[in-house]
């Protein structure tokens, strides 16, 4: 290999190590006894030092299952509605050239830059007022509102690339507009779903702010909030802390590694705009 290429790989390897070692360190040490964590933090667990004590404590004392389910419900629910409402809106914006459509499009897409958190004061009041405080539905609504602008932006670009002929042919055949959307256009949007997913799913799953201000009881916490509270509580219990972190890390990593190709191509495809 040319010396310059060697240097390139050296740099990339160094940075990759920097990016992954902290995680490896945490996960590796979560399987060790307390003494081993402090005594030999850098060595992997062996026969003597292997221990699952942290995990048992976490799984017994925390509502991890509930939190995980909550995160799943909220994320999938929000994703579904973001895609549905977003695609419908993107379709109407690109297809129906009416006066005021461009203004509406602008209105919807400035949301990309508007940080929804700043309206939290009123959101909390609103949710309390309509009786949705401390519910998962409140979270879903908030995340849908948060994710719509970016989703509409990405989906609109995508819809514009669908050949006009498809819709014209359907119109010629007398197909009603709603069916054109749901049966002709929607199936073609599948590639865009990956792009939208990257921009919406990860921020929702990892969000701390809204679960913090909208959910008060432990039963409604998401996994992110739950882990954060747990960590705060058991801060001196290193085994439990490391295990809790690892439990939170591993599902994400596994899913990420499985879907990494689609995720990254989705990100690069959408990002070019």
């Amino acid at each position: 290999m040319r010396p310059s290429r060697l240097a390139v790989h050296a740099v990339l390897l160094a940075y990759t190590a920097l990016a992954t070692l902290p995680i490896l360190l945490v996960v590796m040490n979560s399987f060790k006894t307390r003494n081993a964590i402090f005594g030999e933090p850098l060595s992997p667990p062996d026969g003597l030092t292997f221990s699952l004590i942290g995990y048992t404590k976490v799984l017994r004392s925390a509502h991890v299952g509930t939190w995980f389910a909550n995160s799943l419900i909220v994320t999938i629910g929000a994703m579904f509605f973001v895609l549905l409402f977003g695609a419908m809106a993107a379709w109407a914006l690109t297809e129906y050239r009416v006066r005021g459509v461009t203004a509406l499009a602008l209105y919807l897409t400035i949301g990309v830059m508007v940080p929804i958190r700043l309206g939290s004061v009123a959101i909390v009041a609103m949710m309390r007022h309509i009786g949705l405080n401390d519910t998962l539905l409140a979270l879903v609504l908030v995340y849908v509102a948060q994710g719509l602008p970016m989703a509409i932006f990405i989906l609109a670009e995508f819809i514009q690339q669908i050949p006009r002929d498809l819709r014209d042919a359907a119109r010629c055949d007398g197909v009603p507009e709603t069916r054109i959307f749901f049966e002709v256009i929607a199936p073609l949007l599948r590639p865009a779903v990956a792009t939208v997913a990257v921009f919406t799913v990860v921020p929702i799953w990892n969000d701390l702010w809204f679960p913090l201000i909208l959910t008060s009881s432990e039963g409604t916490h998401t996994i992110t909030l739950g882990v954060q509270q747990f960590l705060g509580q058991y801060i001196t219990d290193w085994n439990s802390v490391l295990s809790a972190l690892s439990l939170a890390i591993l599902p994400v990593v596994v899913i990420y590694v499985i879907f990494s190709r689609q995720l990254i191509s989705g990100l690069t495809a959408g990002a070019v705009k």
Binding site: V8, L12, T16, A19, T20, P22, I23, V26, I37, F38, L42, F81, L84, F85, G86, M88, A89, A92, L93, Y96, R97, V98, L108, G111, M113, P115, L118, G119, S120, V121, A122, A125, M126, L141, A145, L148, P149, I152, R171, C172, E177, W205, N206, D207, L208, L212, I213, V227, Q228, L231, G232, L242, A248, I249, V252, V253, Y256, T268, A271, V272
Partner: protein, 314 residues
């Protein structure tokens, strides 16, 4: 065959009904939960909550207090100033590193490219809570992992409980944030680099440029619009930042408010903490000020930077 029914020829009532159907849900949710609360918050900021819970209109006096009354302005300006430092660290470290890594990853015929990409992007997928805590542990003097690592390369003297010292806490948190989020500028710029046609690079090679020069003179100028976008996204993200500081330092953003950002200041003001009662109206005022700061940044981007940087069609 008759011409297909054009949208323009649809009866107005029907078109209106369709628009309502397709756009209604999105606009409703967005307006109700994104726009209206923001406006309501800004309105609330002009009120004061009296001792018996009534709302009293006070105009801009909340803002005046925020900016000049020492009991409010001291923490406010501290948080604002910290936020600026936070942003500068990101601009100086996160974005150049992201650009450099993107440049390396986009080199032709790079073995293991997708493995590198997947692994380097991994921290971005993690929850901020996890990242904050993991680094808290790693940098903790109690555990000694980082101290041990530094000692092994002879730099043991450099170690300090950085997260615990007022002088270094903010920078350390900023670097942890950079560590986590390098993936985003990396990916956006990587995508922009991929968009540059291969023939352009070939022409530059025939012209005699080596890879470094090709990056500096050909690729970099062509991705400036994307760098602009990354910068404004960094700005919006940084001035909204909360999660990392909260999960590492709690709402008080210690030590001694050294890591306080506008986000944590807002949270504390609105919800209260062990040192003060929550004050929604002042909280609303903080949020409004944050909104305007972000708005200014976005406007500068849209009106100044985006105009100047032209996107090239190849």
């Amino acid at each position: 065959m008759p011409a297909p029914p054009q949208v323009a020829m649809m009866p107005r009532a029907r078109l209106f009904g369709l628009m309502l159907f397709f756009l209604g849900p999105a606009v409703a949710v967005y307006t109700a939960i994104s726009i209206y609360p923001l406006l309501a918050t800004m309105a609330l900021a002009t009120y004061r909550i009296t001792a018996n819970g009534d709302y009293e209109f006070v105009g801009l006096s909340n803002f005046v207090a925020l900016l000049s009354d020492p009991s409010w302005s001291k923490p406010f300006w501290n948080a604002a100033w910290n936020n600026l430092k936070f942003f500068i660290v990101h601009m100086l470290v996160q974005n150049p590193v992201g650009i450099a890594l993107a440049g390396l990853l986009s080199l032709p015929d790079l073995t293991g490219k997708s493995v590198y990409r997947t692994l380097i992007f991994l921290p971005t997928m993690l929850s901020v809570v996890i990242v904050g805590f993991a680094w808290n542990l790693i940098l903790s003097p109690l555990w000694g992992v980082s101290e041990g690592l530094l000692k092994s390369v002879g730099l043991g003297a450099l170690f300090a409980p950085w997260l615990g010292l007022p002088s270094t806490a903010l920078i350390t948190l900023a670097l942890i944030s950079v560590w986590q989020f390098v993936g985003i500028p990396l990916m956006l710029i990587y995508a922009a680099l991929l968009n540059i046609p291969e023939e352009l690079v070939d022409a530059a090679r025939v012209d005699g440029l080596g890879q470094m020069r090709i990056f500096a003179f050909i690729k970099l100028p062509l991705i400036l619009p994307t760098i602009g976008l990354v910068s404004v996204l960094t700005f919006v993200g940084n001035f909204n930042a909360f999660d990392l500081v909260y999960s590492v330092k709690g709402a008080l953003a210690g030590p001694n408010f050294a890591s306080d950002l506008l986000g944590t200041f807002f949270y504390r003001t609105f919800f209260g903490n062990q040192l003060q009662v929550g004050d929604p109206a002042m909280g609303a005022a903080v949020a409004t000020v944050m909104f305007f700061i972000i708005l200014v940044g976005v406007c500068i981007y849209l009106l100044v930077i985006q105009r100047r940087l032209s996107r090239y069609a190849y």
